[in-house]
């Protein structure tokens, strides 16, 4: 089993928004999907997941609705709002630029640093 990494500060919100962008989804499914997609590298802190969801809902980036799952049980489904989509776009861009910059720095040849 691969070692699992904790998420860097602030990225949980971004990942939640991304998952919710694919269609209405409940909290447990978000946790599952994040682990599956990241090939079990990312350790989703389940304890922080729900406060994060509530916070995003409170900020109007997510909207919630109680619906039945395929198994016929009631669950709270989150979907992305218009405002959330804009936020996701902005944060994804920011993240891309940040990782690019970090990668650039890390790729520096030893000699180039002089």
């Amino acid at each position: 089993m691969n070692p699992k990494y904790d998420l860097p500060q602030g990225t949980l919100d971004l990942l939640i928004l991304k998952v919710a962008a694919l269609g209405p989804v409940h909290g447990y499914a978000i946790a599952q999907r994040l682990e599956q997609v990241s090939k079990h590298v990312v350790q989703v802190p389940q304890g922080s997941l729900y406060p994060a969801l509530h916070r995003l809902e409170n900020r109007g980036l997510l909207a919630a609705e109680w619906k039945e799952t395929e198994t016929g049980r009631e669950a709270k489904f989150y979907r992305l709002t218009r405002k959330g989509r804009a936020q996701l776009g902005a944060e994804a861009d920011g993240w891309a630029r940040l990782t690019e910059a970090v990668a650039l720095i890390l790729k520096m040849s030893e000699g180039g640093a002089e």
Partner: protein
């Protein structure tokens, strides 16, 4: 969802949160079981993954952003519950606060309505008034002047910055319909109502063509006059009235309380129809102006324009306008001298409120200490410090706001009765209303109080020695609160000292002022203004005859000893100030020049002359008023127009102008008299009269007095002076008992002569001290309340502190302490707090004395005597309050006390 919604749906949200987490757990368990983990182990792992559910929930609640509100709500309900548990405490605290906040709110309502609110007209900040000032001789002494009518018309016509309206005060007798009534008139330019933007109650305003000589006589009624004289009937508009023998059509009624300037006028007439010759002279400045800045114009632009216009007028009319300037000033409500009284009362009542706060604070503190264990328990269970402080503050805020609600109710009920108590008339009293500004103040004051008395208990919430607090409960920490309690008692005592000493000083002052000699014999003197029949005012000869007839008729009445006419009265509103010089010889002969319509000698132009009050009287005036002749003679029947113009001066003038020399026979030059060559011979010296009232006269700016005989007044003064004259009647019966007979005797052939503003000299003298008496009454009440509250506070604190020491006292008594020793122990504790309070209060009272000396007229520096009376009183009351707990302590049964532990 708004915060409020979320708060109201809290219950449902909690359920949903449970359900959501439950759903997660079940799914996780199911998945683990599918991958082969056994039931109990799967549940364990799932729980482990999500963490402690309560913590997750707490974080979710925090994330909702309504956390503080939920806490506040919780604290609020908790606070109500605790208050309900102790109804006695709650009642005392609420009543104390309610009274304090109520009184403060009421005073603020008055200060706000009378002093702070803008004029009750639309866009009051755009309203301005114009003043004229001359640069000539003695100019600054005359200060701000009104405008000459012709100047006003020029400025009104040319100004591009200001819409300007003018007004002129006058009086007249309304002889039809109904009984004759002497009325206050305001002659106005036709645009006055449109400039202030106040619509009439009914009817129409004057048309511009009516605002000219030869226009149809039209009148607008003032609201009060319409109510009084026309019974408020709408048909009044369209009917007519006869004013000074001229018939006017009534075209409108002004709205209630409309006062463009000063008092509410009875009748408005068009200014342009006034044919008085004085309006055509630019040297006479009777027109009051009221203007509105046009859109986009500032007061500075208006000022620039008026300065330019002033220079142009000065150029065009050198004789009258040279050096004359105009200033534009923001129009402000006139409030006269009530300002200092109102602020003083607001200050005093705030002190009472502070005493109330200190009182409630010490009650709360005592309670907080007995709740020490509860609070420590909360800390032990994980409450943070800020959370606990917030809870304590919420409790006191609830208490404060409940007190505030009670206070606002009391203020609403008490305002009108209080206004009825106000001495004389409080200007703008109708503006004093409980509105949002007052409510805002009350809420602010309540929260402020809540914070003041809530902070101490909150801040001493236990954090350090939780363990000790839990173990020993109340008794272990009682000693620590001792000092804080002392602070409250000391500040209550200090505040009470300030109020007591202030009240004492006011009382001393009032006694002193009431004992002063007014300079006239005030017993059995009736004073009344008198309006002659308008018919007699048309001709000076007739006017003189009419006055003589009035005096002769009145003299015949039973009960009348002597009677005189006089223009201005001591201790009543109205005065006539004129500059004088002892250097009469030069001005008689030396060439002079015309300045501002007066003949002025060149040598005098740069000199500042002293002022004196001029009173125009008939010969018997001195007899009626019981004045004393120091030298020379009173006026007699020989002082007529064809004899040397004479005057009588008072001893103040004689002293300052001639020192120890005999003033009689000397001459005074009074440049503004306007007759007799402005030079007058002094024939007598009389005693000084406290014209400005018993309280104010000693510090008045102008004290010197000159009397001139009515019989030497030239014809051209007759009309105006006759409008000003009053009667003074000395009686040998109760003066008010002859009013009916006097009225009847003097009503004249046409029945249109009116006596009005009837008073006795005793009333005037008493009224002249009314504001000091009123201040004393209220300061006395405030001081009494503060003393009572302080005593209650001392009693409460000592009872509490002694209660804490019951076991200790028990031990002492068991070991042989006598009653006296134990009582002394308690009294000593109280005494030290009182002494500190008195020391602080004494220092503050000295500061209060300076404030009173500055703002109360006639105030005597009497702090020392006031201290001598008030401080023993306070000590006696405070010790009495301490005596009860001390006595109780001395009677503790040692066995019971020791077993209590």
């Amino acid at each position: 969802m708004s915060w409020l919604e979320r708060l109201l749906r809290r219950e449902k949200m909690e359920q949903q949160l449970d359900k959501e987490l439950q759903f997660h757990l079940e799914n996780h368990v199911a998945e683990l079981m599918r991958s082969g983990v056994a039931g109990p182990e799967a549940r364990r792992r799932a729980r482990l993954a999500i963490g402690w559910p309560e913590e997750v929930k707490e974080e979710c609640r925090d994330a909702r952003g309504t956390r503080w509100l939920e806490d506040a709500w919780q604290d609020f309900r908790y606070a109500l519950r605790t208050l309900r548990h102790k109804p006695g405490f709650a009642a005392v605290a609420l009543l104390t606060l309610g009274l304090g906040i109520g009184a403060t709110t009421m005073m603020f309502t008055l200060v706000d309505g009378v002093l702070l609110k803008p004029l009750p007209f639309p866009e009051p900040d755009k309203l301005v008034t114009l003043h004229g000032a001359s640069s000539g001789w003695n100019a600054e002494a005359f200060g701000k002047q009104n405008l000459a009518y012709l100047d006003f018309l020029d400025l009104q016509r040319t100004s591009t910055c200001i819409d300007l309206a003018g007004a002129l005060y006058d009086n007249g007798t309304v002889s039809e319909p109904g009984p004759p009534e002497y009325a206050d008139l305001l002659q106005i330019s036709s645009n006055l109502f449109s400039v202030v933007r106040v619509p009439l109650l009914m009817g129409r305003v004057f048309a511009p063509e009516e605002d000219k000589t030869g226009g149809i006589p039209v009148a607008i009624l003032g609201y009060s006059f319409w109510q009084r004289h026309f019974g408020g009937r709408p048909e009044a508009v369209g009917s007519s009235l006869v004013l000074d023998l001229k018939r006017y059509s009534i075209v409108g009624v002004a709205p209630a309380g409309f006062r463009p300037y000063g008092n509410e006028p009875d009748i408005y007439t068009p200014l342009g129809q006034n044919t008085g010759a004085f309006l055509q002279r630019r040297a006479i400045h009777p027109i009051y102006t009221l203007g509105r800045l046009r859109a986009g114009q500032s007061i500075n632009e208006a000022q620039a324009e008026m300065s330019l216009a002033g220079r142009q007028l000065a150029e065009a009319y050198k004789d009258t306008n040279a050096g004359r300037t105009f200033t534009v000033a923001q129009l402000r409500p006139e409030t006269g001298d009530v300002k200092s009284t109102l602020w003083l009362l607001l200050g005093a009542v705030t002190l009472v409120l502070l005493v109330a706060c200190a009182n409630v604070a010490s009650l709360l503190l005592a309670r907080a200490i007995s709740r020490e264990r509860e609070l420590a328990m909360r800390v032990a269970l994980g409450a943070t410090r800020s959370r606990l402080v917030r809870q304590c503050l919420t409790e006191s805020a609830v208490l404060g706001l409940s007190g505030g609600v009670l206070g606002v109710l009391l203020a609403a009920v008490g305002l009108r009765p209080f206004l009825a108590l106000w001495p004389g008339e409080l200007p703008r009293a109708e503006e004093a209303q409980l509105d949002w500004r007052v409510l805002l103040f009350a809420v602010g004051a309540s929260l402020m109080c809540g914070f003041l008395f809530g902070a101490a208990p909150a801040l001493r919430a236990p954090f350090k020695n939780i363990e000790q607090a839990l173990r020993t409960g109340m008794r272990g920490v009682a000693g620590g609160s001792h000092r804080l309690h002392g602070v409250f008692v000391a500040s209550e005592v200090a505040l009470a000292v300030i109020l007591l000493v202030s009240a004492g000083m006011l009382g001393r002052t009032l006694l002193h002022l009431a004992s002063l000699d007014p300079g006239v014999n005030i017993h059995n003197v009736l004073v009344a203004r008198m309006a002659l029949s308008p018919v007699t005012l048309t001709d000076p000869g007739k006017t003189r005859a009419a006055w003589k007839d009035v005096l002769d008729r009145a003299r015949q009445l039973p009960g009348v000893q002597s009677i005189a006419t006089v223009d201005t009265f001591p201790m009543r509103e109205g005065f006539n100030k004129l500059a004088y010089s002892t250097n009469a010889e030069v001005s008689d002969t030396a060439p002079g020049e015309m300045v501002d319509g007066r003949l002025v000698h060149r040598a005098r132009r740069e000199e500042k002359l002293p002022f004196a009050l001029l009173t125009c009287v008939s010969p018997d005036y001195f007899k009626v008023m019981g004045m004393r002749l120091r030298r020379g003679r009173f006026f007699d029947n020989h002082d007529t127009l064809d004899h040397t113009p004479v005057i009588i001066v008072d001893e103040v003038l004689a002293q300052s102008a001639f020192g120890t020399d005999d003033a009689t026979g000397k001459r005074l030059w009074i440049p503004d008299m306007g007759y007799g060559g402005n030079v007058f011979q002094i024939v007598g010296v009389v005693n000084h009269v406290r014209h400005w009232g018993l309280g104010a006269d000693d510090q008045a700016e102008i004290r010197a007095q000159i009397y001139s005989p009515f019989s030497q007044l030239p014809d051209n003064f007759m009309h105006r002076w006759s409008q000003l004259m009053s009667l003074a009647v000395r009686t040998n019966v109760n003066p008010l008992s002859i009013v009916g007979a006097l009225r009847n005797e003097l009503k004249g052939a046409a029945g249109d002569q009116v006596l009005y503003e009837v008073r006795t000299m005793e009333q005037l003298a008493s009224d002249s001290l009314a504001s000091q008496r009123f201040l004393l009454l209220l300061f006395g009440i405030f001081a009494g309340v503060a003393l009572l509250l302080a005593c209650v506070g001392i009693y409460g604190v000592l009872a509490y502190l002694t209660g804490q020491r019951i076991p200790e006292m028990g031990v002492r008594i068991a070991l042989g302490a006598r009653t006296r020793d134990v009582m002394w122990l308690v009294l000593r504790q109280s005494l030290s707090m009182i002494v500190v309070g008195v020391a602080l209060g004494t220092a503050a009272a000295l500061a209060a004395e300076r404030i009173l000396l500055r703002y109360v007229s006639g105030m005597q520096p009497s702090a020392a005597i006031s201290f001598a009376v008030m401080i023993p009183l306070l000590f006696a009351a405070a010790l009495l309050a301490s005596f009860v707990p001390a006595r109780r302590a001395s009677r503790i049964d040692p066995v019971a006390a020791l077993r209590q532990d």
